[in-house]
């Protein structure tokens, strides 16, 4: 179980977003907006691939936030369940600089 709970090492972050490459071909980007997340962990409970777990650290807003472990398939179930508009899925070519 401890192996599953490791953060995906391909994470790219700035002061607001955590982005993880997702799906089989790594052509999607799973984005967590730490400024909006309120730490309810509904995303962890709805994820069918056990790809998410909650952080131990708190964000600048004082809430824990989800971390991805590399199993995300970009199915969008957590995006639809998130009550705080904090999760999103993007195509990599659309957000590449």
């Amino acid at each position: 179980m401890s192996e599953l709970n490791n953060q995906n090492e391909e994470v790219i972050s700035n002061e607001r977003f955590d982005t993880y490459p997702a799906s089989k071909r790594k052509d999607r980007l799973f984005v967590i907006d730490r400024m909006r997340c309120k730490g309810c962990s509904i995303c962890v409970s709805v994820c069918p691939y056990d790809a998410l777990f909650m952080s131990k650290k708190k964000s600048t807003n004082g809430f824990i936030y989800p971390i991805e472990n590399g199993a995300c398939k970009a199915c969008k179930k957590c995006l639809y369940a998130c009550p705080d508009f904090a999760l999103s899925i993007h195509k990599v070519e659309e957000v590449n600089k």
Binding site: R16, K38, D84
Partner: protein, 276 residues
Amino acid sequence: MTIDFTKLHHNFETSLTSKMLPTIWCSGCSLGSNLQSIIRGAKQAGYDFDHDIVMISGIGCTGRASGYVNIDGFHTTHGRALPFATGVKNGNPDLEVIVFSGDGDLFAIGGNHFIHTARRGTDMTVICNNNSTYGLTGGQASATSFEDTVTPTTIGKNDKPFNLVDLALGAGATFVARYTTAQYNTLPRVIAQAMRHDGFAFIDLVSGCPAIYGKRNGYPTGEYMIKNFKEASVEIDTSDPSYLLSENTAIEFDRKVGYTKIPIGIFRSSTMEGKF
């Protein structure tokens, strides 16, 4: 790989007012995903957010929703969302009017307006965020608080709650459905169907208030609440005519474990002639 962080907005960001976010709603509140389901439903039904839709809400936590969504709207006085909506519909019959309000607003102080708007068959979509409490003011008992539950204003035990589906059917609504917040895939489709419906459409959207009502009454976190909704939801069997009896449409609730039975589905869907 270099990422342009300015493009990482939410997938429905164009439908939201970004400067108002994050929302004031508590952690685990289902209002945010309900609002997202309404946005997805309106997109699915093919409405132009700038010209076709107006969203009206009353007072309460749910009343805030009209401010977070990028649709023209009114945040009206307490209980009077439906009279405002009737006025908007009469003023411009081409608009699709959505009323998104709470159970306290629509069925306690605004109960009279609800039954008469349903009776007249005004063409609008009413979505009731039914969380069984007055969340904004501290969790007082509302018209849909369940029996034997505890609230700050409960003396002894609570009275019998309203069965909103039964009430809407009796008042003459022509589209009546009930879903919970956890049906993320079905709910936008049903909302789109209700918006396209010509007549008074009512959706009893069962959602929870884990931070205030739930912590006293069996579902303390949002995570537990979503699991509870999925387990307790029972799809109605419309082939059997007894599904409209009030004992088959009532929600059952146990104070120790949360919801035990929620009959979900579309209870009535018919068109009304000669109205608007």
